[in-house]
C-alpha cells in the first residue's frame, strides 16, 4: 500500500515543538528576574494579558478570515463581569478563589459571544466586519446607559486581595499576580495552539480560504464561524478578567472602539499568518502604549506610519518577515543579505532622525508653547522657531531618503535573486526525490 516514493510518514513527536514551548515557559518564568523594576513588572503583566487577547483575536482574523472591529466587547465585558465577581468575593457573598476570577471573565466573554456572535457570524467578509462594528458601538453606547453595571465615568474598582489566601498567596504583590498571568498566558496559548490542530481548527482555515467549497464537503460554514467566534470570545474574556485583576479598576473604555482597533492593529503588525505572530504584536502593543507614549507625544503618529508601511510592504507582519528570513537562512543565504540589512537600518535611522525632528518640532510648537521654542531630540538641541533647525532636519531627511532608496533598490534586487535561487533549489531537490 505504501508507495516507495512517499517521503513523509506522520511523526507523532516533534522535538522542535517541545523546545519552542519549553523556551516560551522559561522566558515567562525568568523575565521578572531579569527585569526587576516595578515598571517592567507592570509591563510584563500587561504583555501576558495582551498576548492572550491578540491570539484570541487572531483565531478569527488569521485562522478564520474574519475581521472583527469590535472585539474589545468580549474582553471588556469579561473585565466587567470579573471585577463584579471580585467585589462579591471581597464582600464575602461569593466563595471563589481570586485565581479563578479570570475564568469567570472567560465564561462571561463566552456567554456574550454566544449571544452576539450568533448574529455576527451569520455573515462573512465585509458584512461580518460591519456587524462587528455595529455591535461594538452598541455595547459602547450601553456602557454609558447603564452606570450601575459599567460604573459611569469613574468605572468600577475592586481589590484583588480578597478571600482566603492560598499557601500565603494573596496576589497583593505584583510579582504574585504576574505569575498568575504567566500561567494563564501559557495555558491559553497552548489551548489556542491545540485548537489549530483539531478538525474544527482546520475547517476554520478552509472557511477562510474558500467558504463556498466548504459547504460542498459537508460543513455548515456558519456553524464553523460561530464556534470559532465563541472560542475566541472565551479567551478574550479571560484576558479581560486578568486585566481586571491587574488594574483593579475597569472603566468603559475597555469596550471602546479604540481598544478594538488596538487589537486589530497590533495583531496585524505581529502578523496574522503565523500562529505566533500575535504574540509579537502583543509585546509591541504594550511597548508602544507604555514606553513610546512616554517618550513622545506624537507616538500615535509614528504608530500610524509604521502600520501603513507594514500594510503596504509587508502585509504578513513581523512574523512573516522572520519566517521569510529563516527560510533564507535555512538555505544558507542569509549572510550575504546582512550588509544590506545593516545599510537599510542605518539609512532608515537617518530618515527617522530627520522626520522625527520635524514632527517633534511641530508637536512642540502646537502643544508646548509655554515651554519656549527649545527642545531636545536624540541628544540634539533644536529650536522650533529657528529656520536653521528646520533646514537641518529637512536636509537630514532628504539625505536619508536618497540613501535609503538606493540601498532599498539594491536590497530588492539581492532579495529577488536569493528567492529565485531558493525556488530553483527547491525544484531541484524535488526532482531528485
Amino acid at each position: 500500500m505504501h508507495h516507495p516514493g512517499k517521503v513523509y510518514r506522520f511523526r507523532p513527536y516533534n522535538v522542535g515543538r517541545w523546545v519552542v514551548w519549553g523556551l516560551y515557559a522559561i522566558v515567562m518564568l525568568v523575565a521578572p528576574l531579569l527585569f526587576t523594576s516595578s515598571l517592567s513588572l507592570t509591563m510584563l503583566s500587561q504583555m501576558g494579558i495582551a498576548i492572550i487577547a491578540c491570539l484570541a483575536f487572531n483565531m478569527l482574523l488569521g485562522q478564520g478570515g474574519m475581521l472583527s472591529f469590535g472585539h474589545a466587547v468580549y474582553s471588556g465585558l469579561g473585565s466587567f463581569f470579573a471585577i463584579h465577581t471580585l467585589n462579591m468575593v471581597s464582600a464575602g457573598t461569593l466563595a471563589l478563589p481570586v485565581s479563578l476570577v479570570p475564568v469567570v471573565g472567560g465564561l462571561a466573554g463566552m456567554a456574550v459571544s454566544i449571544l452576539l456572535g450568533y448574529v455576527t457570524t451569520k455573515k462573512a467578509g465585509t458584512p461580518f466586519a460591519m456587524i462587528t462594528l455595529g455591535v461594538g458601538e452598541l455595547v459602547w453606547a450601553m456602557s454609558l446607559m447603564f452606570p450601575g453595571f459599567f460604573g459611569g465615568e469613574g468605572g468600577i474598582s475592586g481589590n484583588r486581595v480578597a478571600g482566603e489566601p492560598f499557601l500565603g498567596i494573596t496576589f497583593g504583590p505584583q510579582i504574585q499576580l504576574y505569575y498568575l498571568i504567566a500561567i494563564y498566558t501559557f495555558v491559553c496559548t497552548a489551548a489556542m495552539f491545540a485548537f489549530t490542530r483539531t478538525p474544527l481548527g482546520r475547517m476554520l482555515n478552509a472557511v477562510r480560504d474558500n467558504p463556498e467549497r466548504v459547504e460542498f464537503v459537508g460543513y455548515n460554514t456558519q456553524i464553523v464561524r460561530y464556534i470559532a467566534f465563541i472560542a475566541s470570545g472565551f479567551f478574550m474574556g479571560i484576558s479581560g478578567g486578568l486585566a481586571a485583576l491587574n488594574f483593579e479598576i475597569v472603566t468603559a473604555e475597555v469596550v471602546s472602539a479604540v481598544r478594538s482597533g488596538a487589537f486589530l492593529l497590533f495583531t496585524f503588525l505581529g502578523g496574522a499568518v503565523f500562529f505566533f505572530g500575535p504574540i509579537i504584536g502583543a509585546i509591541l502593543m504594550v511597548l508602544a502604549l507604555v514606553l513610546l507614549s512616554e517618550l513622545t507625544q506624537a507616538w500615535l503618529l509614528y504608530l500610524g506610519l509604521v502600520f501603513t508601511f507594514m500594510v503596504m510592504y509587508a502585509p504578513g507582519g513581523i512574523s512573516s518577515l522572520i519566517m521569510m528570513n529563516l527560510r533564507v537562512a535555512a538555505f544558507g543565504k542569509l549572510r550575504p543579505l546582512l550588509a544590506s540589512y545593516l545599510a537599510l537600518a542605518g539609512t532608515g535611522f537617518v530618515i527617522l532622525a530627520g522626520s522625527g525632528a520635524m514632527i517633534e518640532m511641530l508637536y512642540h510648537l502646537q502643544l508646548n508653547q509655554a515651554l519656549g521654542p527649545e527642545l531636545k531630540f536624540m541628544g540634539a538641541s533644536l529650536n522650533a522657531k529657528d529656520l536653521d533647525s528646520w533646514f537641518g532636519a529637512a536636509f537630514v531627511l532628504a539625505i536619508g531618503v536618497a540613501l535609503f532608496e538606493m540601498t532599498r533598490r539594491q536590497f530588492v534586487r539581492e532579495w529577488g535573486e536569493t528567492q529565485e535561487w531558493i525556488e530553483k533549489e527547491i525544484k531541484r531537490r524535488e526532482a531528485a526525490l
Binding site: 491545540a194 463556498e212 464556534i227
Partner: protein, 264 residues
Amino acid sequence: MSAGSEFALELRDVRKSFGKTEIIRGASLQVRPGERVAVIGPNGAGKSTLFNLVSGRFGSTSGDILLAGRKIDGLKPYEINRLGLARSFQVSNLFTRLTVFENLRCAVLWSLGYRYSFWKFLADARDANDRAEEVMEMIKLHKRRDVQAMNLTYAEQRALEIGITIAGGAQVILLDEPTAGMSKSETARFVNLIREVTVGKTLLTVEHDMGVVFGLADKIAVLVYGEVIAFDTPERVRANERVQEAYLGSVLAEQQAQQAAGAH
C-alpha cells in the same frame, strides 16, 4: 438508500428562472446507480445551472430532485453532500492556502464523522489521514503533498479538484467540465483518472470534448434550452434525429471540419 429507489438520481420536471428568464424549462432525468452520464448541450443550454440545482448551490423554482429516492431540492449544499452527493467545479475551487494533503483531509473529515470537533487532534484522526493519503496517491499528487494549492500547476489543481470531490466517498459524483482547458494528452490521462476514481459510483459529467463523452459515458443526456431532449446510450443518441438537428450535427460537423483542417 433509505427509500430504496431504483434511481440514484432523479429529476422530475425541474424548472429554474432567473428573474423572468427561464433557464431550466422542465428537465427530467433518471440515472440508475453506477451509470456514467455525460451531460452535453450547446453553450447556454443550462448544464452548469442544472448541476448547481442538483448540488444545492441554487434552489430550483419548481419540480423535484431526488437522491436515491429522497427529495433534496431546497436543501443546503452541505446537507445534500452529507446525503452522498459531491461535485467539482468548472473553475478550480480549492482551499488555496492549505497544502494538497490538508485540502484532501478537509474533504474527508465530515464523512468520517469528525463534524465540528475541537476536542480531538487531527494527528490522531488515523482514518482521515489514511484516506487523505490514499486519495492523494489516486490522483497522483503524493509528491506534491505539502505544496499549497495555489502553487500547483493548472493540471494539478484540476486533479486536486477531483480529489476533493471524491474523497468523502459520495455515491453520486458530479463533475463540471473536469477536462476544461487541458491539452489532448492531459485530457486522455484525465479521462483514465476519472474512470479509476469513480469505479462503482454514479457519475454525471458536463463535457464538451466529444471524444471524452463517447469514451467515458454509458449514457448521454442532451440538454438544449433547459430541456433534456434525449437520454440514451451514445450510439442511439448519435442516431437521434432531434439531437442531430438541435445540436450534435453541428458539433460533430465542426469537429470533423477541425480535424480535417488540422490534417492538412
